[in-house]
């Protein structure tokens, strides 16, 4: 129903453009983050993982201890960010990449959860309690999943699965 609304013009142009703008911003953010990591010689998530705190800290630290797992995490991070970013940017498979983005961000959120009394995350600026920028970006991506603007202002609009998706809902 929601997707039908967006593609059948029940949304005003401004509503569509707003969603598109949000998609581009998040896509830009992901893509740039990924590319910086790819371009940084010897970049690794090791330090970030070792510094993790909160209930899941042992899991993140364990990831950093194993060479093979760390390599996997590094590649997943770099290319995950780049591909999700590109996907959102051009609106190709953007509905599903929004979900992937939520999953990736949830790792960042859980590695340094902004819960009271857990300690200070030296990787961020500002003060946060439960809600931080990662959580807000996750919420925004979930909105994009529900309202896939790529079906109008993206390459998704040229493909048949768009119609199938709409028909399902």
């Amino acid at each position: 129903m929601k997707n039908e609304k967006i593609t059948t013009g029940e949304f005003s142009n401004w509503q569509t453009y707003s969603l598109t703008f949000l998609r581009i911003l998040i896509g830009w953010h992901f893509l740039y983050e990924g590319l910086v990591k790819l371009y940084t010689p010897g970049w690794t998530a090791k330090g970030y993982l070792l510094g993790a705190y909160g209930p899941l800290a042992p899991v993140f630290k364990w990831m950093a201890q194993s060479k093979s797992i760390l390599t996997f995490v590094d590649v997943l991070n770099e290319w995950g960010l780049v591909l999700i970013g590109l996907s959102l940017f051009v609106g190709l498979f953007s509905k599903y990449s929004s979900l992937c983005g939520v999953a990736l961000l949830s790792f960042y959120y859980l590695a340094y959860p902004p819960f009271a009394g857990l300690g200070t995350n030296t990787h961020v600026e500002g003060s946060y309690w439960i809600v931080n920028k990662n959580l807000i970006e996750m919420a925004a991506l979930f909105v994009l999943y529900q309202f896939p603007s790529g079906y109008i202002t993206g390459i998704d609009s040229f493909f048949k699965y768009r119609k199938r998706d709409i028909a399902k809902e």
Binding site: T20, R23, I24, G27, W28, L31, Y32, L35, V36, Y39, T40, L50, K61, A64, Q65, K67, F89, V90, G91, I152, T153, G154, I155, D156, S157, F158
Partner: protein, 516 residues
Amino acid sequence: MKKHDTNNKRRDLLKGLATLPFLGYFGIAFKENIELELSEQARDTLPTLKIGTLDAPKQKLLPPTGNSKNRLRVGFIGNGWRSEQLLFSFGYMHPEMVKENIVKGKYSEILQSFLEQEDLNVEFAGVCDTFSLHAQHGYEFSLNDVRPGGGKGQTKPAKIFANYRDMIASDEIDAIVVCTPDHSHAKIAIAAAKAGKHVYLEKPMTQTIEEAVELRNTIKSTGVVFQLGHENRQQMSFKMAKEMYEKGALGTVSMVQTFTGRNGNYGAWIRERKFDKQGNEHNINWEEFLSGKPMCAFDPKKYFNWQRYSEYGTEMVGNDFTHKYDCVNQVLNLGIPETVIATGAQYYYKNHGDMMDVINAILSYPERGLSLTYDGTLKSSVYMQSRIFGSEATMDIDLALMMYKDGDGTRYKDVDIDTANPMYYYAPAGADAVTSATAKTYLKGGYGATSIDGKVIDASLLHVKEWVDAIRGQGKTSCNIDVGFEEAVTFNLINLACLHKKIARWDKVNEKAIIG
């Protein structure tokens, strides 16, 4: 109608591609921005120090010196925890440790890095210890063929000697490593040097100034290769700091602060280790342990925690201050102070030996126009780097190095940085995460890995390699008998000042301490 459809299709097409211009801009501009960002991160702050380039980080690692003709046969005198750490550096791992480090057929990171470390071409040829279980445990290191660079397919069991005299007299030993209680260091090292054996001696060098004089003279007259076990001599941070200081980056240095802190029984050397409970009069050679000290009844407390007894140990200064002193001594080339004022007392761990647990000392170097202070406690585990105060900049130093400009200095007047923020920072790559407070303190103090020649190598390995290479005529030892002598005299002056509650002076002509 047809025109309307065409318009719609065109509009849909344009909408579908609406975001591409943004991507186009991103594509054109991102690379330049990333490069800018990366160059900011890697910005070389060295020019701000106005000393040109630094030579220390360009130091090359000496290629392996071992070959089939110069295999060095090393004997270990005293096989406690420190000796077993050194055996690891020499390329030997206890079979139990090998087992623990292979899980489901996979090598742990420790075992992997052990196998990849340089093979020094050293044979662990002999071991002796006053506690037979320690000697046996050491011997077991020689029973496997797990070696850096791959084993040779055969094992040669180390010989267990009854005592150090037998080992020194043996022509199956070329060099010795001494890891015994402090009170026996000088006696063993002097006897070994006289027998023509090269000596690697754990710190602190000697228990008294008189022993230090005799050992230095013996090493010099015999010409054996001597290395004192301060492996922080290998840390890049201290080499860089030395060069910075010598090139004037700190200005005039007027003061140096050193500090050590430990807390709790373990930190205060009240410990119980793996074999301690099994130690008794039958498997411990008590007389050999006493090594000429007045005879007394067998006492396991004394034997296993000898550090806490001034008769056998060297107090907190011998154990802890010597590390800090050797670090700043290699940076500033301080040498021996002219006078020492110090107080110390045992306030806390009173039921175990006479070791002082709070010590404060001021060491004066009038010829250098500076003083060095040391504060040590066994009731606080707070960590502080050594701090070198210069007229142009202050340097905090340990494994890492941080420099802060002096707000009223002239050299860095044009450097736009707050005096509270480091003007220059260096830390070696690859320092692994550690968990316990004592281990962290050791690591920060310079006892972990260091960067050299583009590689990350354990400082202990580099330190023993330096000794082995020097024995083979390649290079010299950095913690030689002269700097060892400075270390031994300096910390002994502090102990004497505390003991006599008077100022201790160094008579450099007669090489004697003068009290009062």
